[in-house]
Symmetry: C2
Subunit: 395 residues, 2 copies
């Protein structure tokens, strides 16, 4: 029987798979030390504690059924208490919405907050998971650069003064992916004041805030304005398998997200939400666990930064890596990171070229280097290989 194959929606032609995902497939060779990934270290995840929580959850009633769209109520209570401590005010349970990882919060928020053509301000270089969602929502995207104090809020003020009216501003305020920097307290306050004065939303995307190595990051942008929607996640402090992210948002946004969550997937998993609640409520254990992750990542970060500065000298600058999982490095000697990559792979090291995070081109001399999944000696070896590839490139 001959059959006519139906078409797909037109918008699909405008969407592309993540360049980084495609790159990761190319770099997945056993002999390559990959600083290209963006995963937390599975060896540091609390497997036994999760197993105990799973056994507990499954021995009690109530864990097998559908749960409420905004999340399992006891988890929301735990999160509200944590957010209250973070924001310095009493955050109600009715402000906390559990999502299927914080990526789902981004995608639901894009639907709730954006009409087609709405202006969205992102950071440059950008978190690509956010960029993908805003592009899919047909937003008009303006990217403002980061510097060592985070988003250039002064340029946002100029944009507003020129008459532009963003619907939202997206920021990874702490230990930026990919930029490695943290927004200063002054800029947080200034961003919040602009949001209040001009009436736009800020999405403060904060998966890494608890992974500080020296000192905690400044108070969240959300501490300064109710126009800020704060996102966080259990993925980096416990384990991605839980798919537990959360959002702290004002009531109108909460209701919009609830409506759309019903259509998106009805609800999350009561099982993984109970596991998350168990671990997040166990404050003594949790603080020790997160401290152990901080200590491990901090040592790795320092080893990577030390090796980069030692091997490259003034041919390269890089961020200080005071938290999170990434170092951003810029070649100052004209090396093109995209062109270097094949030689780097041949030398046995992988990274993501900065251009993969550039909103409108650029960052050709930059790289994102992930230190979370390699020990100090391996990171040092990776930098040696990178330096070797760079020298062979100059021959």
């Amino acid at each position: 029987m001959s059959s006519t194959i139906p078409p797909l929606a037109g918008k699909l032609s405008g969407l592309q798979s993540s360049a980084i995902r495609d790159l990761l497939k190319l770099t997945a060779r056993a002999e390559v030390i990959s600083l290209a990934g963006g995963l937390p270290d599975a060896a540091l995840m609390p497997r036994d504690r999760i197993a105990a929580a799973a056994a507990d959850a499954l021995s009690g009633p109530g864990c097998l059924q559908y749960t409420e769209s905004p999340g399992w109520a006891p988890l929301r209570e735990v999160l509200a208490a944590r957010e209250s401590a973070r924001l310095g005010r009493a955050v109600g349970v009715d402000e906390v919405f559990v999502t299927h990882g914080s990526q789902q919060a981004l995608s639901l928020l894009a639907e709730v907050l954006l009409d087609p053509g709405a202006l969205v301000v992102v950071e440059n270089p950008a978190y690509v998971g956010a960029l993908q969602v805003f592009r899919a929502a047909s937003a008009r995207i303006v990217a403002l650069p980061l510097d060592s104090e985070g988003l250039r809020v002064d340029l946002l003020a100029e944009l507003l003064a020129s008459g532009e009216r963003p619907a939202l501003v997206h920021t990874v305020s702490n230990f930026h992916n990919p930029g490695g920097v943290t927004m200063s307290a002054e800029r947080r306050r200034a961003l919040a004041e602009l949001a209040d004065a001009h009436g736009f939303w800020v999405i403060e995307d904060d998966p890494y805030g608890e992974l500080y190595f020296d000192a905690p990051a400044p108070a969240p942008v959300a501490a300064y304005s109710r126009n800020v929607i704060r996102l966080s996640s259990a993925s980096k402090i416990i384990a991605p398998t839980l798919r537990v992210g959360w959002m702290t948002a004002p009531p109108s946004v909460f209701r919009g997200v609830e409506l759309l969550k019903q259509g998106a997937d009805l609800c999350g998993s009561a099982l993984t939400q109970q596991i998350a609640a168990d671990l997040l409520a166990d404050a003594a254990w949790l603080s020790g666990h997160i401290e152990s992750v901080r200590t491990a990542y901090g040592a790795r970060a320092k080893a990577l930064v030390h090796a980069l500065r030692d091997r490259f000298g003034d041919r390269l600058t890089c961020t200080d890596a005071t938290g999170g999982m990434f170092v951003w490095a810029d070649f100052t000697d004209g090396t093109d990171a995209q062109e270097l990559l094949p030689r780097a792979l041949d030398a046995g090291v992988a990274y993501v070229p900065g251009s993969a995070f550039a909103v409108d081109g650029g960052y050709r001399h930059s790289m994102r280097l992930c230190f979370s999944t390699s020990d100090a000696a391996t990171l040092t070896e990776a930098v040696d290989r990178l330096a070797g590839a760079g020298q062979s490139a100059q021959l």
Copy 2:
């Protein structure tokens, strides 16, 4: 500090919370026997088997990290084998995509398959989870009625003959929610032939197919055409908490869904997917487990239907309940089910009025009755209360 609260997206004003969810909140009183819900019975879910699978998954490597967007590969292999048996052809792993419950498959498919204004044909009465998604996608919806053999495919043929060109047709082919009926083999073949001849997609939404009480349902619509995307789920045969649904789809659709899944939530939970794979691969245990659910639900269904026919006689007709979780009943004596509901609640019984499932109004004399979570004696008592409420209504 005075602040300007930003607006939400315009499309939100057109979305409504599920009327059924709102109703369920009203009917959640301890003294009310609720036939209004739509949940599987948690008492029949394999808690200990899930706990054993969770312990196994968490004792091995690989379960804590992010997983691939289309799902954990071993789960997809198990599902491909099951789908192969169901469809009577070799279904490849690359045709099987795991979603966060089958509701997520519906929502991703609406984005992949529908341009705004595209024509979508649904069944009347409709599965409201699908209707909500198609409405959110700004589809133009035409509803065609069910009869005792399922979707009136003859009316679809008339619609096509009139020049209408649907982008997709959505059907719950087996043990319809809410309609209770199963599409006949002849209509399945006819629907597939129309899809091939006219080039439209069919979404065959099949969460209940394995819950047959007398004989298995006919071969899926998907057995007859590659233009059919088949959805199913572990929620009704194992437990909703896993949030494991799946889709069998041709490569172009698979790729579109993969692209959008990355933006929607990156990936599912490796933990719950490993649990699902464990249980679904254990064929001997699974067939015994599903048989026990069939036996329990079948006895409940028969008790409900018997009581309805016994108490109401020719004042009501109802479906035979040969599988699934629902009986659809129509008052033939002019009783308005919506008007009866407050008296029914006072008498201690709840149901969902048919109008909640009507696409363009109607079904005012109908009810959906869920038998999955009450035993036979309770169902009989519920019908007694309903009959009492009906009599008081006539006074």
